[in-house]
């Protein structure tokens, strides 16, 4: 009885979460006639026209490219700086660790709207509005604290003696970081990377105000701008949303396996 209840509870949550997703995935495969049919038809005709027009008419590929560049760069920079910062925070001056981490947490809690004005003015003054570096810098201000938090948690768990053994065996600090700490903290690095990537990939508000040039816009903004004055291209919206979701699913599945593997490898004591 209990396993059955558990299954039903989990199923309810999954259905509740996935239903909208399923709805637009099915919608993207419908024919234009099916899309507006009343009563709605559930089973699509596996019609690929909306995908074609999303790419050709609405320039979906450019948005994908922009998103990939922006989210990729945000992730790379956040992890690179975050790993060094988290390492320093957990290894030196441990009395200040909590203080720094709490400050970081507070910083990352500012609502975006509160910093949007200053961020816009700064980027405007730098001439970085409508540029990749501009949006990446804005994203890093939010993603870096997140990355540092996750990585610091993982670094703290690593037995320090393993690193000390490396230092005695002939490593410099940077070598110990590269050869011992980073491989052992791999699960944490992947976790942080995924979360940062998802954040940057989905972010809408900063992208909307910083990237006003259509050539630079990312997927969320691009898709939001599909509807014209007199048109509501539901099919293309559904197709673009499906495509925008796929990389996240693929990444998560791919990294998840590595995270699980990394966890079991790192769990060894001594």
């Amino acid at each position: 009885m209990r396993p059955l209840l558990r299954f039903l509870a989990i199923a309810a949550v999954v259905v509740y979460s996935l239903l909208p997703f399923l709805w637009f995935v099915l919608a993207s495969w419908k024919s234009p006639a099916q899309l507006t049919a009343i009563p709605p038809e559930i089973v699509p005709a596996f019609h690929w026209g909306f995908y074609r027009s999303a790419v050709t008419t609405y320039g979906l590929l450019a948005y994908i490219r922009n998103s990939a560049i922006v989210a990729g760069a945000t992730t790379a920079v956040s992890i690179a700086i975050g790993a060094l910062a988290a390492y320093a925070l957990t290894r030196f001056r441990s009395t200040w660790l909590r203080f720094y981490l709490v400050v970081l947490l507070c910083v990352s809690m500012f609502p975006q709207i509160a910093v949007a004005g200053p961020v816009w003015r700064i980027l405007d003054a730098l001439g970085w509005l409508n540029s990749y570096p501009g949006i990446v810098i804005a994203y890093i201000s939010f993603s870096l604290p997140l990355a540092i938090w996750i990585l610091a948690t993982f670094f703290k768990e690593l037995p320090y003696e393993i690193e000390e053994a490396a230092l005695i065996d002939g490593c410099t600090r940077p070598q110990a970081l590269k050869r011992i700490v980073l491989p052992l903290a791999a699960p944490g690095i992947f976790t942080a990377a995924i979360l940062v990537f998802i954040y940057a990939w989905n972010e809408f508000f900063f992208a909307l105000i910083i990237l006003t040039s259509p050539a630079l816009q990312t997927l969320p903004v691009g898709i939001a701008l599909f509807p014209g004055e007199y048109t509501m291209p539901w099919g293309e919206l559904a197709a673009a949303s499906t495509i925008a979701t796929l990389p996240l699913i693929a990444l998560t599945l791919f990294f998840q396996r590595r995270i699980v593997r990394g966890l079991s490898a790192g769990a060894v004591k001594g």
Partner: protein
């Protein structure tokens, strides 16, 4: 290999002196054990020598090179951790080869030395295993292997056997002794286990509260302890102690006991002294020569030894007797000790004359 010299070393955490002005050296090829209770500063001392912690003053020299301002990797020491601290993501061969690779040794040489080290330690068949696939004893061997493959100037061991079970510990102890003889290595070895200290050491340094209590060969530490702390810390069961006075005739008296200690010490008659006698130095005695009389409380029969705990004038005494001795709880027995086996301490320090 090289000698190690520590001079006036100290370490403070705030106002607390963890290590207080220590000086000692370890000769080239010597197996030196730092023995002391937990919290006596012995591990901190070892970590300072390795460069893992800063000192608050003093100097450390390996050979004729002063190393106390150098990074750990520049000191040419190897450190075996209590937790082994193997690299979990590397297999046994990679763990062993790690230090050689960092130094850019040729691949051929690395392979040769990994094989050689594995052979010495019986790790031959385990080279491709990860640390998590090894037993405690095997991990211990890898940790030792990682140290010896480097051929460092000095080996530092931090309680390397304390995570092993008793049988394995005794076995590894023997292996370490053999290894030391084979390599002729200079070793500084930290432990709180006196059996390890007594069996492995050429020289023991007894440490308590950050200070050296005594430096000497194991036999010297055991048979001529410099003070009450050393006398009580080394030896199991613990030495029996009793405070009393020596009278004009050279008779030590205290509640419920009297020992003839005439000529054993220069302590003035009437001054208070502490008398110590090890359990194995107490023997059953007749009525005339009896030093202590008491009622047997508990008997611990270990097969090879029999420990008799008795109460005399409210104090507890422990005596080791031959296993064949017929004695039962509640029995009334008399004990004595030969003069040469009696330790006298005045103000906590050894007061037995060296000739005695």
């Amino acid at each position: 290999m090289a000698s190690l010299a520590v001079t006036n070393l100290s370490k403070k955490f705030g106002a607390a002196k963890i290590i207080d002005d220590l000086s000692f050296d370890v000769r080239d090829g010597e197996f030196c054990v730092l023995l002391g209770p937990s919290g006596c500063g012995k591990t901190t001392l070892l970590r300072i020598i390795a460069g893992l912690e800063d000192s608050s003053g003093g100097s450390i020299a390996i050979g004729d090179r002063r190393v106390d301002r150098l990074a750990p990797r520049e000191r040419d020491v190897a450190f075996v951790f209590q937790t082994y601290a193997l690299y979990p993501h590397l297999n046994v061969a990679e763990n062993l080869a790690f230090s050689l690779e960092l130094r850019g040794a040729p691949r051929e040489e690395i392979r040769r030395r990994v094989d050689e080290t594995a052979k010495i330690l019986g790790l031959d068949g385990l080279l491709s295993r990860k640390p998590r696939e090894l037993s405690g004893g095997q991990r211990q061997r890898v940790a030792v292997g990682r140290a010896i493959i480097r051929q460092p100037k000095v080996f530092l061991f931090d309680e390397p056997l304390s995570n092993l079970d008793a049988a394995l510990r005794a076995e590894m102890r023997l292996e370490l002794a053999r290894l030391h003889r084979r390599l002729g290595a200079t070793i500084l070895y930290v432990t709180h286990d006196q059996a390890e200290a007594m069996t492995l050491a050429d020289k023991i340094i007894v440490l308590d509260q950050g200070r050296i209590q005594q430096i000497g060969a194991p036999a010297e530490i055991y048979h001529a302890p410099a003070n009450v702390f050393v006398a009580g810390f080394v030896g199991s069961p613990r030495m029996n102690f009793i405070d009393g006075r020596i009278d004009q005739r050279g008779i030590f008296t205290a509640e419920g006991c009297r020992f003839d200690v005439g000529g054993l010490t220069d302590v003035q008659a009437g001054e208070s002294v502490t008398l110590g006698v090890r359990p194995e130095d107490l023997e059953l005695a007749g009525e005339r020569e009896a030093a202590i009389e008491g009622k047997v409380d508990i008997i611990e029969d270990l097969g090879s030894d029999k420990f008799v705990h008795l109460k005399s004038a409210g104090r507890e005494w422990v005596a080791r007797v031959v296993p064949e001795t017929r004695v039962n709880p509640g029995d009334f027995i008399r004990l004595t000790a030969s003069r040469g086996r009696i330790h006298l301490f005045s103000g906590g320090r050894r007061a037995t004359n060296p000739s005695a």
